[in-house]
């Protein structure tokens, strides 16, 4: 579960990125986070992944209180949150299989577990036949699938997708969004940051709209309410 209570985040340069955000995303829920550039979306993601600490207020992610989390606890919190980026962030000199296995290996998984889990996840995202390819040999959509597989492989309870379709054409974007829905159906909490209005409309899920560091709407029609203002 993700819970923000009166979260304020100000940067030292004097920017107020978040000006009192409160929201709750339940376990197994699917939510979109929308808003214009500079509205505070990236700050919310960084607060969830523990890259930033709130100036005031509390942030709870999967049982961890991030405003007072100790440095050595942070890796263990991060294992509960998978992150997917717009630019994929894949390791180019590793194969598809190695990119996914790498995420398991660096948290100390056994080879046996890796050999069992990686093919399963690759099949889930539809890349089981391309495990020996390198990222540059894949299409944009496939690269994003690979990034999702990597985020998923350690079985996190939450996945944060930051503009996952930003670099894809409409057909591939739809595929990726459908894949994220499928993963959510398996029980993973999903928070998708996006600008894609059409996709948001298509899937009819909760939409949290923020602007200038404040939540301006939150609900099934959140995106439209935000647009109407």
């Amino acid at each position: 579960m993700i819970e923000f209570t009166d979260v304020v985040k100000s940067y030292s340069v004097g920017t107020h990125a978040l000006r009192g955000i409160s929201m709750q995303i339940e376990d197994g829920e699917f939510a979109y986070l929308v808003g214009p550039s500079g509205s505070g979306k990236s700050t919310i993601i960084k607060l969830i992944t523990g890259e930033l600490k709130p100036t005031s207020g509390t942030v709870h992610v999967n049982g961890y209180s991030l405003e007072r989390i100790r440095k050595r606890e942070l890796p263990f919190m991060r294992r509960t949150v998978g992150v997917v980026f717009q630019d994929f962030r894949l390791i180019q000199d590793m194969t598809v299989y190695e990119n996914v296995a790498f995420a398991m290996r660096v948290i100390g998984a056994r080879e046996k577990e890796i050999r069992e889990r990686v093919p399963y996840v690759l099949e889930l995202v539809g890349l089981e036949t391309k495990s020996r390819r390198h990222p540059k040999e894949l299409s944009g959509g496939e690269q994003q699938r690979l990034a999702i597989a990597r985020a998923l492989v350690n079985n996190p309870s939450t996945i944060i997708a930051d503009e996952p379709t930003g670099n894809l054409d409409p057909a591939r974007s739809l595929e990726i969004m459908s894949l994220l829905q499928e993963i959510n159906n398996l029980g993973t909490t999903m928070l998708v940051v996006t600008h894609e209005k059409d996709l948001v409309q298509r899937f009819h899920r909760r939409v949290i709209a923020i602007d200038e560091g404040l939540i301006v709407s939150d609900g099934m029609d959140g995106y439209f309410s935000y647009e109407d203002q």
Binding site: E51, R78, I91, F102, V106, I107, G108, R110, N154
Partner: protein, 304 residues
């Protein structure tokens, strides 16, 4: 979960992985690794040479200083037997390596032998001289204290020592040791910076990988260790090569000195005798330079 310096209790298969990654890092930046090893070899070779030179010089100075003897004069009212027995008391004083009895007669002979005009001393009686002990010290630095102790020995009336010469030797030894230490420290810092830079480059090249590792929940220890392994291996390779070269060079220098120095003024300790010290110096310096050099370079990459 037990943690030490951010390193979780790791399984055996993880240690294998971390070593593999460390070695991969070496080959990924082959040229920089080669450069780091070369600089480490050069620095450790100079460090080793200075250590060997310092060790030998110290040894030579100590030996030389030991020849700077102390003379303890015995009370002239004592009989020959009583005078000799003072030796037992002298030997009980701390810091005495050896005390040799010199009778009046021997003292006279020595005196005459030291002067060219021997005729001038014909007829001189041995009674003019006193029985004495030629005393060698274990540690010449304690000369003053030992002299005072000898003066308190019953039967000893006067102690003669050339403190200025002893002080000169000690100062020479101190200067040699200090200069060597300074050079050793500077060279170690140079090696440290080079290794640190190599690892920094390796880390910079893999900063995206490190960011992904942080993002998926790798502990700092797990991220650090391959780079520390890399630094350790580079340091130890450098140390190994430097050690081998040092051995060859040292033996060559010893052989050359033996050829040239027919008077045996320079007595260098054979390398085999220095083996333990040298292995400790090279392995310690290699390990220190490798591990500390890489550990310090990693820190700034960890705040992701």
């Amino acid at each position: 979960m037990t943690e030490w310096m951010g390193i979780s209790a790791m399984k055996i298969n993880n240690i294998g992985y971390l070593f593999k990654e460390g070695i991969r890092g070496i080959f990924l930046h082959g040229f920089m690794s080669f450069a780091a090893v070369c600089v480490t070899v050069a620095c450790l070779l100079i460090v080793g040479t200075f250590s060997a030179v310092t060790y030998n010089l110290s040894l030579m100075i100590t030996e030389l200083n030991k020849t700077n003897e102390v003379t303890a004069y015995v009370d002239e009212t004592l009989t020959d037997a009583e005078a000799r027995s003072v030796g037992t008391k002298i030997n009980r004083v701390s810091n005495i390596a050896e005390a040799e009895f010199i009778s009046r007669e021997e003292a006279l002979q020595n005196f005459i032998a030291d002067h060219s005009e021997t005729e001038a001393f014909e007829g001189t009686s041995a009674d003019t001289f006193r029985h004495r002990f030629r005393v060698m010290l274990t540690d010449p630095r304690l000369l003053e204290q030992t002299k005072a102790d000898l003066e308190n020995v019953p039967g000893v009336v006067k102690v003669k020592a050339t403190e200025e010469i002893a002080a000169g030797f000690i100062m020479m030894q101190d200067v040699v040791e200090m200069v060597s230490m300074l050079i050793i420290v500077v060279l170690l810092i140079v090696s440290l910076l080079i290794i640190s830079n190599t690892v920094k480059l390796a880390m910079y090249d893999r900063k995206d990988e490190i960011a992904i590792m942080k993002m998926v929940g790798a502990t700092n220890g797990f991220i650090r260790l391959p780079f520390v392994v890399q630094g350790f291996i580079l340091g130890m390779i450098g140390a190994g090569i430097a050690f081998g070269l040092e051995w060859v060079m040292y033996d060559a220098v010893v052989a050359r000195i033996h050829e040239v120095d027919t008077f045996g003024f320079f007595t260098l300790v054979p390398f085999q005798e220095l083996l333990g010290v040298m292995v400790a110096i090279f392995a310690g310096a290699g390990m220190f330079v490798g591990i500390v050099g890489s550990w310090t370079s990693i820190r700034k990459f960890m705040d992701v």
